[in-house]
Chain length 153, copies 2
């Protein structure tokens, strides 16, 4: 099944280049597109976190390997399929990241810990509720902790 989606907002920040790490201090302004009223953000400031769903638009039309590959081409890590990784070259090129809400200002939402570069199109924003976070402890393979070592620095 195919669906057409449209950006509802755009990311503005000082990250112009596509790089893997050091996203922790980036503050991003997420500004609604002209066709969405500011009211769409009403009440969002009552939440501490929001999940931002965006499109890796610079990767669209790029190569996607869905079969097993070493994350970041690091042979010290096991080969895993695309749905056991979070990299951008994936079917549908969607990113989804839970961010800290800094403030809402009219048509803009300011967030911290969004790993998307300047100009990235946003396709949805969802408030984070505790009830949607894992109730049981999260476990994951060691390679993923190694990969994330400098991600939020």
């Amino acid at each position: 099944m195919q669906f057409e989606i449209s950006s509802i907002a755009t990311v503005f920040n000082d990250r112009k280049a596509i790089t893997d790490d050091f996203w922790g201090d980036v503050i991003s302004e997420i500004k609604l597109t002209d066709n969405i009223p500011a009211e769409a953000f009403d009440g969002i400031e009552e939440f501490s976190h929001a999940e931002i769903i965006y499109v890796f638009d610079k990767a669209v039309n790029g190569k996607v390997v869905v079969g097993s590959e070493h994350p970041r081409e690091n042979k010290a890590w096991p080969k895993v399929g695309i749905f056991a990784q979070r990299k951008k070259n994936r079917p549908n090129f969607l990113g989804a990241t839970i961010c800290k809400i800094v403030k809402r200002d009219g048509r803009s939402l300011f967030v911290q810990m969004l790993d998307a570069i300047d100009g990235t199109p946003v396709v949805d924003i969802k408030p984070v509720m505790k009830e949607f976070l894992p109730a049981l402890p999260v476990t994951q393979p060691g390679w993923s902790n190694e990969l994330m070592k400098d991600y939020w620095k």
Copy 2:
């Protein structure tokens, strides 16, 4: 900006009707579409949780109010904009839910706590890493806790 996305998998479960609550015990099989190799799931069983991004396809072409409305039309709760709610009638009709991985079996991933009905098209699956969960405590308005009271029962 517009993008075309395609389902990469389909949900199979015993929830045929669209209802708000009682999703906790639902076990869903997420089966890859024919064009995606089973290998796309390799390594996913090393993770305890996965985020499922799906399309509320039954709601597509339905009415979307992006401005302020009472969640579930409950006037006891404040009016909030579409991005301060998680309801299905939203721009782009995307759902995103973190689920417990039950098992992977070839081309299928079995998960618990997916709030999507039978036949729902899935557009992405991401492994959940602790590093992508909120580092700071999550706070949210009281109405959202009330709304979620029976959601996972």
